[in-house]
């Protein structure tokens, strides 16, 4: 038979009535609280019995305390004198129990009790405010990225889910703050008017969804970037964050054993965790940008060469359509570059460049991007967006002119007009994807070449 039970109990920290009732019910079922943290509560099996619990707050206590302060001990003594034995405490929350039928409650003045809860909660709420503000800044940044280039944004799965998380987290925290203040205002007024303590209601503590959201964010990020170096980077990033938390907990446990002071514990945790996080993140960022590192995020360049005092790169990526597929050429120095490739559950986008070397610019170049919306409702959005990007980049002088789509074997085709002159850039809408392709300005695209484009890129 199990003698220890670990439960997740989602109570808001100020919900003293909720916690008391829950613990009394547990004792009747034969489970006595032994230890509590923000998320998990440890129960020990006991003979089922009727017990009274009292949850109080000690505002001067801190998360960094390694042992109760003398003042806190004096408070415990007073409580014990009135029949209340300390069960456990976590930072400011203090939980007492009593087996007496009607012990004098620990708090007998509602005004003082509300004020005590509030001064304890105020400390706790600082984290809420910081997370709400950081989350909102994060969300606004994502929103700006979305409006700058919606297709690129939607094609990056990790961005999509991070945006969702960065909105959900501050919302949940703000709801918690709002719920608390609604209670506090009412409780303060009632206590002052008729000396009654308004019960704290509700069991839920939405904030506790936050870690789940963050885990979801990391998992989604890893899956959406699978088979790329980003996955390893994401895993290292998550390990640094997780490692920092573990380190903080270990220091706290060790300091508690050594009975070190709160100040030393706080300093040590802050210094060591910041050091580990900044060293870890620094090394990670350095590795991403260091071409010799295995984490080097940029594509390996096949060749680096100097021309006219400038350094150029030649890529040898496997691109879906090459100039050689369209026309005969004896030039062999081309750079084939996949500028970006992103795929999410909503959109897949590949951006490709084929360029001659800087010393052979007389040879033609080819640029194209292929956008594949994964849901029908995104098709028109992507089509309009691909045109709007030019407008944003080149101004109102850009126009799209509908052309005959049949030689392209497409549903619709457009040619881009810039300052009343036709360019060699086309927007071709196939059944399932949209291709934007730019040929060299003097390239006369033949019907045969259009068909090859359709075969190679159209879907």
């Amino acid at each position: 038979m199990k003698n220890i039970k670990i439960c997740y109990v989602p109570f808001a920290s100020h919900n003293r009535n909720g916690i008391e009732k829950y613990l009394e019910e547990k004792a009747r079922e034969g489970w006595m609280l032994e230890k509590l943290t923000d998320f998990l509560w440890k129960f020990r099996r006991i003979e089922p019995k009727k017990m009274r619990f009292s949850v109080t707050y000690f505002p001067k206590a801190s998360d960094f305390d390694t042992k109760p302060s003398d003042e806190q001990e004096s408070f415990y003594d007073l409580c014990e004198h009135s029949g209340w034995k300390l069960v456990t405490s976590d930072a400011q929350i203090q939980i007492f129990c009593s087996e007496e039928e009607n012990p004098t409650p620990i708090e007998t003045d509602a005004v003082l009790e509300v004020a005590t809860i509030h001064s304890a909660k105020k400390k706790y709420l600082i984290t809420n405010y910081i997370i709400t503000v950081l989350g909102l800044i994060h969300f606004i940044t994502y929103l700006m990225l979305f409006f700058q280039n919606p297709i690129a944004f939607l094609s990056k799965g990790e961005m999509f889910i991070s945006t969702f998380c960065s909105l959900m987290i501050p919302t949940l925290y703000a709801v918690e703050i709002g719920k608390y203040y609604a209670w506090y205002k009412k409780a303060k007024r009632t206590a002052e008017l008729n000396g009654e303590f308004i019960e704290t209601k509700g069991r839920e503590n939405f904030q506790h969804i936050t870690p789940c959201l963050l885990i979801l964010d990391v998992i989604f990020y890893i899956f959406s970037t699978i088979d790329s170096k980003k996955t390893i980077i994401a895993l290292i990033f998550a390990s640094i964050a997780f490692g920092a938390v573990i380190l903080a907990v270990l220091i706290h446990i060790m300091m508690k054993k050594l009975k070190a002071s709160t100040k030393l514990n706080r300093t040590l945790i802050i210094v060591l965790v910041s050091l580990i996080v900044s060293c870890g993140m620094g090394t990670l960022i350095y590795s991403i940008n260091d071409s010799k590192s295995v984490l080097y995020a940029k594509r390996d360049t096949a060749e680096i060469y100097e021309y006219n005092g400038l350094t150029h790169k030649t890529y040898h990526d496997d691109i879906p359509l090459k100039i050689e597929d369209l026309t005969e050429t004896d030039y062999e120095g081309y750079s084939y570059q996949i500028v970006s490739y992103d795929k999410s559950v909503l959109v897949e986008q590949i951006v490709v460049k084929q360029r001659p070397r800087a010393d052979a610019l007389k040879n033609p170049s080819l640029d194209y991007s292929v956008v594949t919306p994964k849901a029908p409702f995104l098709y028109n959005f992507c089509k309009n967006e691909m045109f709007d990007i030019w407008k944003r980049n080149y101004g109102e002088d850009v126009e799209k002119c509908k052309i005959d789509a049949s030689p392209w074997k497409a549903k619709e085709a457009y040619q881009v007009k810039y300052c009343d002159e036709m360019t060699n850039t086309f927007l071709i809408c196939y059944e399932n994807n949209i291709v934007q392709i730019s040929f060299e300005y003097d390239w006369q695209v033949t019907a045969e070449q259009m068909e090859i484009v359709a075969q190679k890129l159209g879907k």
Partner: protein, 107 residues
């Protein structure tokens, strides 16, 4: 702020201060108040702890002994003055009551 706060005293404040006419420990107050009031007034340990802190801040009481976790307190002149004011206020209230209803009715 402190003066505003203790312009009138709650029953629990009043009896706590009353107990501190002579030096005593917090725990003694917990026992003396119900004994003094025939169990009519009880001060909870948390409430007492907060009150003692507030009285110390307002210099209405002072710490006399700290023996590890055990602390004893005694009323200061300021505390006595506030208690006396409260007593005068309560007496005036009582006097007004008697002048309306007469003294005999309650006895």
């Amino acid at each position: 702020m402190a003066r505003m706060k203790f312009q009138t005293l709650t029953e629990q404040m009043f009896y706590t201060l009353l107990c501190l006419k002579d030096e005593c420990y917090g725990m003694d107050i917990l026992d003396r108040v119900p004994a003094m009031t025939n169990q009519r007034v009880n001060v909870g340990s948390g409430t007492l702890y907060t009150l003692l802190e507030q009285f110390l801040d307002a210099e209405m009481i002072q710490e006399t002994k700290v023996e590890g976790r055990k602390r004893s307190y005694v009323l200061t002149d300021k505390g006595k003055e506030i208690l006396e004011k409260e007593c005068i206020r309560l007496s005036a209230q009582l006097k007004d009551y008697y002048s309306i209803f007469g003294k005999g009715e309650n006895e």
